[in-house]
């Protein structure tokens, strides 16, 4: 009899502890696994790169990854280097990477691209071709902010597979938010909260005093950007501007530049008397300016159509400080294209296609 009781007591003690340990382990492992995967992936790249590369001559950093290997590295090696927690068992998946961004340069200022995005059928297509463009630009940092409650696996996977330098954020715009007693339009324009979150992230991440040079650009996911544009904006000292095609019901809108190379007005039809009659894709801001004026954000509510950009820019700079680019604002380097909403009539009510296939 005492024996059974003893056993019962032992079981009652051990059970909660095992549950606790399993739960805790699982919780802590997931982020570590992600890091380990990244580590594996990276090590694989280093070894797979080349038969051509004389790996013997190159010594990677001392603590851990050593370059003295024959080429054609094996998957096992990466395990050796990355496994500091030997108890984690993990299957190393070989990810085939198709292309790489250009090598990071120490002299070029980083371009931080802020892109708000939201889920819809064309989202993956838009982000794919945007990534194809960005992969050509050196020193690019993509800040992708989703309009969602949590980060979606579609975007997470896409960002990881591109190989770009990125930051993945998310914030949900409250829908149909009605302010009591507010007679003006209470809707927040799309993308505003996401852009503001990115600005806040930049301010939290970078120190105003000793940060590397950087440029901030707001790029929507359906526009088209030429590669020349990014090189033009890299030399921004405060805020630079250029023409944008297909906005304001015109072939293009552009700033008016006088003989002295200063912006004195706006060549637009739609309300040219706005403080900054320019599209989101038509300007870039130096990171230092963003950090020095930590209160400058896009106004969330009560902003008239077309005044969004002004709500931010007027807190940062005056008309006189604007730097015209693109050959004194005579060349078009960015197009405000919009993708048609695909007609999905044949899906019907229940959906004809397998919802598990990602598009």
């Amino acid at each position: 009899m005492p024996k059974r009781r003893d056993i019962l007591a032992i079981v009652l003690i051990v059970l909660p502890w095992t549950l606790l340990i399993t739960v805790w382990h699982q919780n802590a492992i997931a982020p570590l696994l992600a890091i380990r995967k990244a580590c594996h992936h990276l090590v694989k790249e280093i070894f797979i790169i080349p038969e051509r590369l004389a790996v013997r001559h190159h010594r990677l950093s001392d603590d851990g990854v050593e370059g003295k290997r024959e080429a054609g590295g094996q998957a096992q090696d990466s395990k050796e280097y990355c496994a500091s927690d030997k108890d984690i068992v993990e299957v190393v998946r070989t990810e085939y990477v198709y292309t790489r961004p250009p090598p990071w340069s120490d002299v070029l200022p980083t371009i931080h691209i802020i892109t708000p995005t939201y889920s819809r059928p064309v989202q993956k297509a838009e982000l794919t071709r945007l990534a194809n463009t960005f992969l050509h630009v050196p020193n690019l940092h993509w800040i992708l902010v989703e309009d969602s409650q949590r980060r979606t696996p579609l975007v997470t996977r896409l960002l990881r597979e591109t190989g770009l330098n990125y930051t993945h954020l998310n914030v949900e715009t409250p829908r149909n938010y009605k302010l009591r007693g507010d007679t003006r339009d209470p809707r927040i324009p799309r993308g505003t909260m996401q852009r503001n979150l990115a600005l806040r992230w930049l301010r939290e991440t970078f120190n105003a005093n000793n940060s590397q040079p950087g440029i901030v650009y707001f790029a929507d996911d359906d526009n088209t950007y030429s590669l020349e544009l990014f090189e033009e904006m890299r030399s921004t000292r405060k805020v630079s501007v250029w023409p944008v095609a297909f906005v304001g019901g015109l072939r293009y809108e552009s700033p008016k530049v006088n003989a002295a190379g200063k912006v004195y007005g706006w060549k637009t039809v739609f309300d040219p008397h706005r403080p900054f009659a320019i599209d989101m894709a038509g300007f870039a801001i130096n990171l230092r300016l963003i950090l020095f004026k930590p209160q400058a954000y896009f106004k969330l509510r009560g902003v008239k159509g077309g005044y969004q950009e002004s709500s931010l820019l007027r807190e940062l700079v005056t008309l006189n400080d604007l730097e015209p680019k693109a050959a004194n604002c005579t060349k078009i380097l960015v197009w405000h294209t919009r993708t048609e909403k695909p007609v999905l009539v044949n899906e019907g009510k229940k959906g004809f296609t397998d919802p598990n296939v990602e598009i």
Partner: protein, 335 residues
């Protein structure tokens, strides 16, 4: 003594049990909240970014070595089959933007030859300049569409088939060009018809490179559905999953297949039939080349979407037209 010991032990056990239970409840509550795991990540993150930096430095070195290295010793690698992309295009407002982003995608694909055919009686400077600056291997052709075959203002896009003459011209040039340079290696290649407003992932081109006859894959956002795809059983295409007229011989979009160059050259009569009824354009070409049984499924047995049939909106030009009526239109010399 014995009973006292027992009692004490009991209390100890009970206490121990209560503590464990409390600990478990606490852990479960923690599970519900987002864990602040950032502390774990920093040292590993730093290692990774340092490794990345080294990696890129190595790539740079490698590139430098490539230039100075002597081109010997290395056994000649079997060269990749060239992908010939035939794109019909026509002048409209968004043309330059579309071609720009297409060229940005193509620049990532090794051994790609872009055959761009304009719907125009002569080559336009816009396209000529764009191709020259693109850095791609290209062929610039032009072939105007007959007036009665052209879509008029206000016509829905499906009324008349588009790009037929241009694609056929691309095929004609390819056949002539290959005939002029005999040689086994020259026959290696894949032909793909890419429209200028679609979106292509880079993986697609790697999938199609291994085409032996005709390969197929799913296309997103087409046929009124999220995606259309061939249905694959036992490694063979048995039918097509599409919502619109699935009884067509090849109910597949232009962007959903690629043909090996050998097959194109072996069938010099195969081309697109402009008279074919709506939706049968692709079939008119493929019917003469291959049977459904011979199709090669790609994209993981046709389960992944690697190309999307996106369409770009026509930009609204109300104000431009109003301005032009006043003689104040934006400078037409600016592209």
């Amino acid at each position: 003594m014995a009973t006292r010991m027992k009692l004490k032990l009991k209390t100890v056990f009970l206490l121990y049990f209560m503590v464990s239970l409390l600990g478990l409840i606490y852990a479960l509550m923690q599970l519900g909240q987002r864990c602040d795991c950032t502390e774990h990540d920093f040292p590993k993150d730093r290692t990774i970014s340092r490794l990345r930096g080294e990696l890129h430095r190595l790539q740079e070195e490698m590139r430098k070595l490539e230039v100075t290295k002597q081109p010997l010793k290395q056994p000649a690698k079997p060269s990749l089959p060239t992908i010939f992309v035939i794109t019909p295009t026509y002048a409209r407002l968004v043309q330059k933007a579309e071609l720009t982003r297409m060229s940005q995608t193509f620049l990532h694909v090794p051994r790609l030859h872009w055959i761009l055919v304009e719907d125009s009686p002569h080559k336009t400077p816009l396209v000529t300049d764009l191709l020259m600056k693109s850095g791609l291997t290209y062929t610039h052709l032009h072939m105007p569409t007959a007036k009665d075959r052209k879509l008029q203002e206000g016509d829905p896009s499906w009324l008349k088939p588009r790009g037929v003459e241009q694609r056929n011209e691309g095929l004609r040039w390819l056949r002539e060009d290959r005939r002029a340079q005999p040689g086994g290696d020259n026959q290696q290649g894949v032909v793909y018809f890419a429209d200028d407003d679609n979106t292509y992932s880079l993986q697609l081109f790697e999938e199609m490179r291994s085409t032996q006859r005709v390969s197929v894959w799913p296309v997103g956002l087409v046929g009124g559905m999220k995606y259309e795809r061939p249905v694959v059983e036992g490694g063979k295409v048995v039918r097509f999953h599409t919502g619109w007229r699935p009884s067509r011989p090849f109910p597949i979009d232009m962007a959903g297949f690629a043909v090996s160059l050998k097959l194109v050259l072996a069938n010099p009569e195969a081309c697109f039939d402009g008279e074919a009824p709506m939706g049968l354009l692709e079939s008119s070409f493929l019917q003469g080349l291959v049977t459904m049984d011979e199709l090669e499924p790609k994209a993981d047995n046709c389960t992944k979407v690697l190309v999307w049939h996106t369409r770009t909106e026509k930009p609204k030009m109300k104000r431009e037209e109003a301005l032009q009526a006043q003689g104040l239109g934006s400078d037409p010399a600016v592209e």
